[in-house]
């Protein structure tokens, strides 16, 4: 079975500061890794994904994430955040070759960007 842990439930940060949202996963098989964002009153939107290859992946809105297999982590980073990045961020995994693509989510991290 797979599980995902997001270590911070809330991250307050000032505008233009860097941010890192932490994600660790547990799995006995290879997985795909994802970050989704949920803006207020909206659905979950894919930010980026790691399938294979380069461990640094870039997504939309200037976000990037780095896959670290030895630490089973997939932390999300942005060098300079904007007020508009205020949202809830979810890390998720799906199992390689899992026909159906079921996602297992972390608890979510609420990013609050203050002016």
């Amino acid at each position: 079975a797979q599980s995902v842990t997001q270590l911070d439930s809330q991250v307050p940060v000032f505008e233009e500061a860097p941010v890192e949202l932490r994600c660790n996963y547990s799995s006995s098989v290879s997985v795909y890794l994802f970050w989704y964002v949920q803006y207020p009153n909206q659905g979950l939107q894919l930010l980026l994904k790691y399938l294979s290859g380069s461990t640094l992946v870039k997504g939309i809105n200037g976000f990037e994430a780095e896959f670290n297999k030895s630490q089973t982590s997939f932390h999300l980073r942005k060098p300079s955040v904007h007020i508009s990045d205020t949202a809830e961020y979810f890390c998720a995994v799906s199992r390689w070759g899992d026909q159906g693509g079921k996602l297992i989510f972390g608890q979510g991290t609420e990013l609050s960007v203050k002016p």
Binding site: F34, N41, G43, Q45, D98, G101
Partner: protein
């Protein structure tokens, strides 16, 4: 860009009543899903659906739940006799091929179900 749409955005019902949550997946997608998020908790997988049948379901998806694709566009989740603990945000999602990595899930905005 095509979207997954869910209706209603908020549903209030009394305990013991039946509710149907509706979703219109993206038109060329073949795999459909329901997830739910109880306030303050994780987004949890409920069920996946492909080729007019359930392909996988979680322990949460018991006999009180059912899914249906009644026509070529809608995908519904029915809860036969709602309980207080069914109160949650329910998300519908769809994907083109269901292979997880190359065909990510697209989510709707959710239906907030409140059982009183």
């Amino acid at each position: 860009e095509p979207e997954v749409t869910q209706t209603p955005s908020h549903q209030v019902t009394q305990m013991g009543q039946e509710v149907i949550l509706r979703c219109v997946p993206i038109s060329n997608h073949l795999y459909f899903y329901w997830y739910r998020q109880i306030l303050g908790q994780k987004v949890e997988f409920l069920v996946s659906f492909y080729n007019n049948e359930i392909s996988e379901k979680s322990e949460i998806f018991d006999d009180q739940f059912s899914v249906e694709r009644p026509d070529g566009s809608n995908f519904t989740l029915k809860i036969r006799s709602t309980k207080l603990e069914d109160s949650a945000m329910y998300f519908c999602a769809s994907s083109e091929q269901g292979d997880g990595g190359n065909s990510p899930l697209h989510f709707g905005n959710g239906t907030r179900l409140t059982v009183t």
